[in-house]
C-alpha cells in the first residue's frame, strides 16, 4: 500500500467517527509513520524475519582494529594473536540473524559465517587453542556504546598475515522501518510505497493511525473502542504464531539478547 492509499482509507474510516475535526494529510502521514513503527514493535517478537535487511559493511583492517588478544598458550607464534575489529552498525540496526565474513581472493568468493557469542566469551574464546576464532571460523559480539551500535569481530589473519585487503561483513539483521514519504539524513527521498509492512497487518496500521489521531483530538468516547479493536487484531495473529512456535521449539533456541 502507498501512503496515499493509507490516508484515503483513514479519511474514509474517520467519517464513521463524528468528530467534526479537520485532518490534514501531513498530520495523518506523521501518525501513519508512527503507527507503522508500533505495528513493527507489536509483531517483531513474533515475526522478526519480516523486518530483516541485508547490509554489507566494509572492514578497514588498518583503522577498524580495536584490540589484539595475545594467546601465550599457543605453541606456534604465528597463531598466537587474535585481532578484534570494531565496525559501526547502521543506525536502524536492531539485532542480527546472520553475520558473514566475505572477501574475494584470486577471483574466488569466500564467505564464512560468524558465530555470535556473549561478550564474556569474547576474550576467553581467544585464549582457547582449538576453538579460537579464525578467518574461516570467525566470531562476533554486539555492543552499544555512547549511542552507537558496534559489532566486534575477529579474526582476519592466517599465520600472522591478513587474508585479504578487502574484507566485508554481510549482516542479516532486523532494522527499524523507514518512514514513508520522508527524506532521510542523507537527503534521499524514501518513497511512497510501503514494502515492509505485510498485507495482513495493514488493517492494524490503519487502526493505530486512527487511534493516534483520536488521541490527539481527545475523542475519549472512541479511544476505548479502538483499543479493543486493536487488541482483537493482535490476538487474531496469535493462533498462527503459536503454530509456528511449536515447530521452532523442536530445536534449541540460540536467541541471545543484547
Amino acid at each position: 500500500m502507498t501512503a496515499y492509499e493509507y490516508i484515503e482509507e483513514i479519511k474514509l474510516r474517520l467519517t464513521a467517527y463524528t468528530v467534526g475535526q479537520e485532518a490534514d494529510d501531513l498530520q495523518l502521514l506523521t501518525f501513519l509513520n508512527n503507527a507503522r513503527k508500533r505495528v513493527q514493535y507489536d509483531t517483531m517478537t513474533k515475526y522478526p524475519e519480516r523486518y530483516a535487511v541485508i547490509t554489507r559493511l566494509p572492514i578497514v583492517a588498518a583503522s577498524d582494529i580495536y584490540d589484539l588478544y595475545s594467546n601465550e598458550n599457543q605453541a606456534n607464534a604465528d597463531l598466537q594473536d587474535v585481532d578484534v575489529y570494531r565496525v559501526v552498525l547502521p543506525i536502524n540496526f536492531i539485532d542480527t540473524f546472520v553475520v558473514k565474513l566475505c572477501y574475494v581472493e584470486e577471483e574466488l568468493d569466500y564467505q564464512f559465517e560468524a558465530r555470535r557469542m556473549t561478550k564474556y566469551e569474547m576474550f576467553s574464546i581467544s585464549q582457547h587453542i582449538h576453538n579460537k576464532p579464525t578467518y574461516y571460523n570467525p566470531v562476533y559480539a554486539i555492543s552499544r556504546e555512547a549511542g552507537v551500535y558496534y559489532i566486534y569481530f575477529s579474526s582476519l589473519k592466517s599465520g600472522g598475515t591478513l587474508i585479504t585487503s578487502t574484507p566485508e561483513l554481510e549482516i542479516w539483521h532486523t532494522a527499524v522501518i523507514a518512514d514513508l514519504e520522508m527524506i532521510d539524513g542523507a537527503g534521499v527521498f524514501l518513497g511512497d510505497t510501503d514494502t515492509v509492512i505485510a498485507k495482513e497487518l495493514e488493517e492494524l496500521v490503519i487502526l493505530y493511525t486512527i487511534f493516534l489521531y483520536l488521541q490527539q483530538i481527545n475523542a475519549q468516547e472512541y479511544i476505548n473502542f479502538l483499543s479493543m479493536e486493536i487488541q482483537d487484531q493482535l490476538q487474531s495473529l496469535m493462533p498462527l504464531y503459536q503454530l509456528d512456535k511449536v515447530e521452532a521449539d523442536i530445536k534449541l533456541s540460540s536467541q541471545e539478547g543484547l
Binding site: L79, T134, S254
Partner: protein, 250 residues
Amino acid sequence: MASTFNSMYSDFKDAVKTYTEKLDVTERQFMRRLTRGMQLFQRETEYVVQASPLTLGVNVLYPNEYELPYNCIRILEFRDVNDLPLMQTSYLQHRSIMDKRSGGRYLEAPRDESRRLTHLLDETGLLRNVTVLGRRIILKPITPSTDLTITVVYIPDISAYDEADPEWAAWAVSDAAFMGLFKTARVAREFQHYEHAFLNYAIGSYIQSLGHINYKVYEQKFLEEVQNAIINKVSYHRGLQVDYQFGTYA
C-alpha cells in the same frame, strides 16, 4: 578410499544439528575430538604395529643406551641389524649376564658361561640381551662398534591433534595450512575401515559436553566398533595357537 576430514566434519555437523543450532566446534576442535577417538581406539585395540630403528646414545645418559620412541605403548620385540631377535630381560638379569661376561661378580651363580649362557651369544660372540628401564631407556651391551642399530617393534600411541606435537607439525604452520590439509587429508589407511567409529566418538563427546544423555548412543556405537576391531584385527594368533613368545629366546 577413506573420507577426508572435511567430509567427516560435515557428517559431524549433520549429526549434531539435532542437538544444537549454535555449533561452537571449530575444525581444530573437531580434529581434537576425532583424533582423541583414534587414540582411545588404538589403546583399546592395539590395532596397528610400528617398527622403528633406534640410534645409540641419543637423548640418554650412558653410551650404551637407546631411547624408546615417545609414542610406544607396548614393546613387541627387538631386532638387531642382522634381523636376529634380542632377548628382553629384567634389569637384574641383564646386569648379571653382563657382569659374568666381564669377569664375574656373582659368586653364587655358575661362572662357566660358555656352557650355561651360550644361547645368549650369537655366532659372532655378541651378547644378545636387552633390558628396558622405566618404559624409556633400553640398555644393550655394545660389542663391537658395528653392532649399533637395533629395531624395536611396538604398539604405538596415536597423538590427538596438538599443534606442539611433531606428528601434527605440518598442520600447525598457519590457519591456511591447517585448512588445506583438513580438506585433503584422511585417516591413515590402516584405520580407514573404522573412521566412522572415530566420528561416533567425536559426536558423542560433543553431545556429552552439551549435557545431553544421547551421547550414550554414540559411545555405545564407538565401543561396538572397538570390539569389532579387536575381533577382526590381524593378529599373531592362528588356529587357537598363541604366540610362540613364552620360551626363552623365542
